[in-house]
């Protein structure tokens, strides 16, 4: 079934498979109380919605000139678990929300925003601004060109092969950043480790901060950075020969690599901080002597 989506309100039932024609500028909102939302792209100016819902639940689709909304609802309240598959054009901005809902988005080239309470979040490929968060689930973003904001509360956040500004945080979990190409990185956790492996751009800003955990940064040999290290109870070690400046050289100091163009702040209140060369192994597990 192909229908236009410019002014629409329909209710569908179990096993729905509907395709709506869309036009540039329209955005898509999908809300599923429990289950999963999976988004893929195709080369058509149309949105296909495939829904596997409980028998008595509804799939409500509404649209106006700017927004298409897809939402599950139950007869007496929130719907039960549903698997919603969306296929849409890459240019379309999308906003996903759920409670016990896993979110998976692949290949979008526009703004992607998603939040869930008890589900995992995965974004694979694409371009544009990505903003995703989960309270109890993990957040994973890979192969994206664009600004990425990724947040969890009680799980880890993993970002790999991203080109663009990064803002990543969690409270109780590790932050893992790998193969990053970015001039602006902010990563923090309260109780967890942080690892960074990526390019250090001239003039870039890199801030890694944890309260109770280790920090391991793998820095390229040709990097130009002014590195500031702060810890209260931890220690510092480096693969690079560095000359330290600062009053308390064991726990609070800075040094320059190359011409010092980028600014790197590494802060762990209670953990160890390590600066590693590429290929030197798992930095956080390496136990060579301190550099002070």
């Amino acid at each position: 079934m192909l229908i236009t989506s410019f002014l629409l309100a329909v209710t569908l039932h179990q096993g729905a498979d509907t395709t709506l024609a869309v036009r540039k500028g329209q955005r898509l909102e999908v809300s599923v109380y429990a289950g999963s939302i999976t988004v893929n792209i195709w080369n058509r100016d149309a949105v296909r919605v495939q829904a596997d819902t409980r028998r008595k639940d509804h799939l409500d689709i509404s649209a106006d000139g700017s927004t298409i909304s897809v939402e599950t609802s139950g007869k007496w309240g929130p719907a039960g678990s549903a698997a919603i598959e969306i296929t849409m054009p890459a240019w379309m901005a999308i906003e996903l929300s759920g409670v016990e809902t896993d979110l998976t988005v692949t290949g979008c080239k526009c703004t992607v925003h998603g939040e869930t309470v008890r589900g995992d979040v995965t974004v694979k490929g694409g371009e544009g601004n990505v903003s995703m968060q989960s309270v109890e689930g993990s957040v994973t973003v890979t192969d994206v060109d664009g600004r990425v904001e990724a947040q969890s509360v009680n799980e880890s956040v993993t970002v790999e092969r991203v080109r663009g500004d990064l803002a990543v945080r969690t409270v109780n979990g590790d932050v893992s950043l790998a193969a990053i190409t970015s001039g602006s990185v902010e990563a923090s956790t309260v109780n967890g480790d942080i690892t960074f492996d990526g390019a250090i751009q001239n003039g870039g800003r890199y801030e890694l901060s944890t309260h109770q955990g280790d920090i391991a940064m793998t820095m390229p040999e040709n990097a130009n950075a002014t590195v500031s290290v702060n810890t209260f109870n931890g220690s510092f070690e480096s693969d690079y020969p560095v000359t330290l400046t600062g009053k308390n050289q064991r726990r609070k100091f800075s040094f320059t690599i190359g011409n010092g163009s980028a600014r790197v702040d590494l802060e762990s209140f209670g953990g160890d901080i390590r600066l590693a060369r590429p290929g030197s192994g798992t930095a956080r597990n390496k136990g060579t002597g301190e550099n002070d």
Binding site: Y33, A34, V135, E136, V153, A167, N172, H211, K252
Partner: protein
Amino acid sequence: MTHHTWTDQLSEYLDGELNATTARALELHLAGCADCRAVADDLRTVSARGRALPELPAGHDLWPGIASRMEAADVVPLRPRAVGGLFMSWPRLAAAGLLLGLASGGAMYAVTHFASRTTAETFPSHQVTVSTARAVADLEMILASEKLDSGTVRVLTVNLARIDSAIADAERALAADPSNVYVSRHLASTARRKVELLHLVAGLTQSRS
């Protein structure tokens, strides 16, 4: 620069501690960014109110009460509830929002207060304790008022307690080393993290009401 970067400097800007170049750049950004301008206005208001507040010590340690309730909490199935999850009625949401605003204001006062300091001073640690304790109490009210899924409540409560613990660590460290700029900044950023978590919860409840 990101919005986050600009807003991080607002406290120093309002305290007149930014250098002229950075201050001018920030003013240019504020002129064209309604969001950051609103944050700046809020900070001015909060700072003014904060200065008028008396400094009160925390009444008691909240953790034992939280811990006992965590131990006693029953796991309530999420799905069968007709109006469960993070749904809130508008009146309750409004009340919770008001409380959260007050709590955030208190915590933000502490954040801006600490963030603006970079010199060797002894920090009155009870200011953070009061602010965050109030914030925790408010969040508990929000959570309890709508009987959220107990698993989610537990996760949020435990993580708020983790942040509290980090704040306490930083306070003790600062007491031992009052001139440590890193620790004072860390204390401020950890308090800010608590406010952000509260805002996250409020945002989730609001979006589903």
